[in-house]
């Protein structure tokens, strides 16, 4: 640790995309054996900085140095050959291939032209043992949960005798206890002499794992310094240039007992083993959290209510009307869904922000000559402003937005729908602290105007900080219900893990995570 030296140095790098200056005159050193935290608001340029180091983008100006020689990468493959690897913010697995194949892809053990299945398996098993990232190694990557897919991505990066590993929001899709394990892995990596770059919106994670922290704002570096000199508040201030106070705005008042029931779910069971006998009610203006471990069946319930997943039995009523179980019907009766995976289920990456925002509600802009472009444009940009989407224009392809802003586009879509019932599946994943608050405020506004909200979230603090009431699912069943002051991390975690699993580690038990950050 004493002999930390710069492995990769970025000097005066700039990068512009169209009218967006993503990076401006950025200089930073990533050191061997150190974890370098990178924080900043959505669109601050964190991912872009890492992408120029990994060879995904070429900088417009400035230079990059690997040890003492200048580095000019033309592709990520060249970077990987030099030991510079990254785990991208968006997953990029080959869904039809097994976990083993995905992890060793490009570095397969072989014997002449023949791939050695056994050697590959052994290598992957060794990796899993070493880092404690359990995944079923023969499963097809596409059949895994998002959290498991994330682990496969991380294993892939770890398996490449890497010298620099970039982790871009690696814990955004992980449950609390898995995230804690990942942080251990990150520390161990650094101890073995790897330079780690760690990007996260969970500032407490960064504070606990990083040696050095760089704060970015609007494409520039605000400061780089030792992590021990930073605090949650100082990072937030550096990122936003202002103090934002509490992450969670005050909750809207809980609905009166005679408030109308908007959502009534009765004895809902899936055709498979995903969930069984789920019943719940949400009143107008009420925000209800659906907590539990990843894989507990929460997203499946969300989809079943929305009509995008067939059910074996049970009924769903919205405002007294029974839903027929089709997405169309749900949309017509005022239900909106923000799906869990923005890339696979949410967005048309190459289409403009406008089209992505208005897609389910195009009927509203119907004119005699097709869609009325100006009204559509106006409505889309209003909805996007409402939740704070930062985009060059409404016609920018969604793929050109930063990760957090892409998430906000989905939220804008829901706002545009003015639903009676909003189902939000991890709506703040990858969203920065300031914008999180903007999203919570938008949620609250919707609740105040009488919308019922079902919030699926793996962040216990988010559930506690925003919901009137929380339901906990375990293995496909609702096992607990907590209200108001009864909602604590301990009570929710205990219910999520169930009796007899006292060894469960939640990050709530870690000293670093106690400081009032959502998760």
């Amino acid at each position: 640790m004493k002999h930390a030296e710069a492995l990769v140095s970025v000097r005066n790098a700039s990068k512009r995309f169209g009218a967006t200056q993503a990076l401006e005159d950025v200089s930073v050193d990533f050191e061997t054996g150190r974890v370098h935290g990178l924080v900043g608001e959505n669109g601050a340029g964190k991912s872009t900085l890492c992408k120029i180091v990994l060879g995904v983008h070429a900088p417009d100006a400035g230079s990059i140095w690997l040890e003492d020689s200048p580095l000019r990468l033309l592709s990520p493959a060249e970077g990987a050959a030099l030991g510079l690897v990254g785990v991208a913010q968006e997953l990029s697995l080959l869904p039809a291939m097994s976990v083993v194949d995905n992890v060793v892809l490009g570095t397969e053990e072989h014997w002449g032209p023949f791939v050695s299945e056994r050697a590959n398996r052994r290598r992957v098993e060794a990796l899993i043992d070493e880092h404690g990232l359990e995944v079923p190694i023969d499963a097809r990557a596409g059949s895994l949960s998002v959290a498991d897919q994330q682990k496969v991505e991380i294993l892939r990066a770890l398996g490449r005798r890497s010298r620099l590993v970039v982790l871009d929001e690696p814990t955004a899709r992980l449950a609390s206890h898995e995230a804690a394990e990942l942080l251990d892995t990150v520390r161990r990596l650094a101890e073995r002499g790897v330079a780690v770059v760690y990007i996260s919106h969970f500032l407490n994670e960064v504070l606990s794992v990083a040696d050095t922290v760089t704060v970015m704002r609007d494409g520039r570096i605000v400061r780089t310094g030792p992590a021990r000199l930073e605090s949650h508040a100082s990072l937030v201030e550096g990122m936003t240039g202002r103090q934002i106070g509490e992450v969670f705005p005050p909750k809207p008042p809980a609905p009166a007992d005679d408030a109308p029931v908007v959502l009534r779910v009765d004895g809902l069971s899936s055709t498979g083993a995903e969930f069984a006998d789920v019943s719940l009610q949400i009143r107008a203006g009420e925000i209800v959290g659906l907590a539990g471990l990843v894989g507990a069946g929460r997203s499946e319930v969300a989809h079943a209510v929305y009509g995008s997943l067939a059910v074996a039995s049970g009924s769903v009523e919205v405002c007294g009307h029974r839903l027929s179980g089709s997405v169309d019907d749900a949309l017509a009766k005022g239900v909106s869904l923000i799906p869990e995976s923005r890339r696979d289920q949410g967005l048309m990456a190459r289409r403009p922000v406008r089209d992505n925002t208005t897609l389910p509600y195009l009927r509203r802009f119907a004119g005699r000559l097709g869609i009325r472009a100006s009204r559509e444009q106006e409505a889309a940009s209003e909805a996007c402003d409402d939740v704070g989407v930062r985009a060059e224009s409404m016609l920018t392809p969604v793929a050109a937005l930063s990760g957090g802003n892409q998430q906000k586009v989905l939220f804008a879509r829901a706002v545009l729908g003015e639903p009676q019932l909003l189902i939000a599946d991890e709506p703040t994943r990858g969203v920065d602290v300031g914008s999180k608050r903007a999203i919570y405020e938008a949620l609250n506004r919707m609740a105040r105007s009488g919308c019922a909200v079902l919030l699926v979230s793996s962040e216990l603090e988010e559930v506690i900080g925003t919901c009137h009431r929380a339901l906990v699912m375990r293995r496909g069943r609702i096992v607990a219900e907590h209200e108001g002051g009864d909602m604590t991390e301990t009570s929710l975690l205990a219910a999520a893990f169930g009796p007899g699993d006292g060894t469960a580690r939640g990050r709530s038990q870690e000293p670093a995570a106690a400081a009032g950050e959502p998760r």
Partner: protein, 313 residues
């Protein structure tokens, strides 16, 4: 300055190149800048434009339809049989389009309900349709028996043939459908991310089926227009028409992967290829070499397109 010019050049690349080719031919080639030559080009392109503008929609929706060739060959055979039997050109036209529509709907259902890959599905239906063409025509050339049938595409309005007017109308309809309507948006959504489209309430199967159906009907119309120009139709199993269609769509820059593209691109692509061939002919390039060069140019156009879209920015 470059920052604004480059993306625009990328975006409108094919249009720029087509205009440049036009300029080049105008400057260097005798006989290019004549009304007769332009009319000729328009006439020759009309059938292809009709089929290609709707093939663009299918491709954006994520489908790959090669049955256009078989419909193009066979629809006029049905149309001419009807014309020979009833003497009605109008009815013949309707039947020709209907044949295409039926094939298109069948393609759409096979692709969406049976979940057969669209290339394979339309290859299979192509063989069936070609076969039907030999049956209906009894393997012989069919000729128009009235003056009304040739008039469908050969009448002149303001110096331009009705065939070209029909093409212009069809192109306009496809363009508006794709860029201004809900159906058009749904087409882009289905091709761009089918699961996201489904969750946004888009009827994915319905949109795809309609896209195939319209492409079939357009190919049928293209066949009737073409046979009306040549006064006859001949059964065959010649796939070449659809290759011209796909070349125009792809050279224009519509993505084979779906989700991206535009009708104007296909028009630019079609005219780029047409101007190139016209230039060769006026310069009397050996037709055998024309093919080789044409293939190379298509390859170059498509590579440049994918290079500008993928290169690290």
């Amino acid at each position: 300055m470059m920052a604004q010019v480059l993306p625009a050049a990328r975006r409108y690349g094919i249009a720029v190149v087509t205009v440049a080719l036009f300029g080049l031919l105008a400057a260097t080639t005798d006989g290019f800048l004549s009304q007769a030559n332009f009319r000729n080009i328009l006439d020759q392109q009309s059938a292809l434009l009709i089929a290609a503008s709707f093939a663009t929609i299918t491709m954006i929706a994520g489908g790959f339809d090669i049955s256009a060739a078989s419909v193009f060959v066979v629809a006029p055979l049905f149309a001419l049989q009807v014309e020979n039997a009833t003497g009605s050109a109008g009815l013949a036209l309707v039947v020709g389009v209907a044949v295409g529509l039926v094939v298109g709907v069948a393609n759409g259902l096979v692709v969406t309900a049976l979940k057969v890959n669209s290339f394979i599905a339309t290859l299979a239906t192509s063989f069936m349709v070609f076969g039907a063409g030999f049956l209906i025509s009894d393997r012989s050339v069919l000729r128009a028996s009235t003056d009304a049938y040739p008039a469908i595409a050969r009448t002149r309005w303001w110096g331009i043939t009705t065939g070209a007017w029909i093409a212009a109308g069809v192109v306009a309809v496809a363009w508006i459908l794709l860029s201004r309507t809900r159906f058009g948006r749904h087409v882009y959504a289905v091709g761009g991310n089918a699961e996201a489209a489904r969750l946004a309430g888009v009827h994915v199967a319905r949109v795809k089926t309609v896209a195939f159906a319209l492409a079939g009907a357009a190919a049928g119309l293209a066949g009737v227009v073409s046979s009306s120009r040549t006064l006859s139709a001949l059964p065959s199993d010649d796939f070449s028409f659809v290759f011209g269609v796909i070349a125009a769509v792809v050279v224009g820059g519509t993505s084979i992967a779906g989700g991206e593209g535009a009708v104007w691109r296909t028009i630019a692509g079609a005219f780029f290829i047409a101007l190139m061939i016209n230039g060769f002919n006026l310069h009397q390039v050996d037709p055998i070499w024309q093919r080789v060069i044409q293939g190379a140019v298509i390859l170059a156009a498509v590579s440049i397109d994918s290079w500008t879209q993928r290169r690290p920015t």
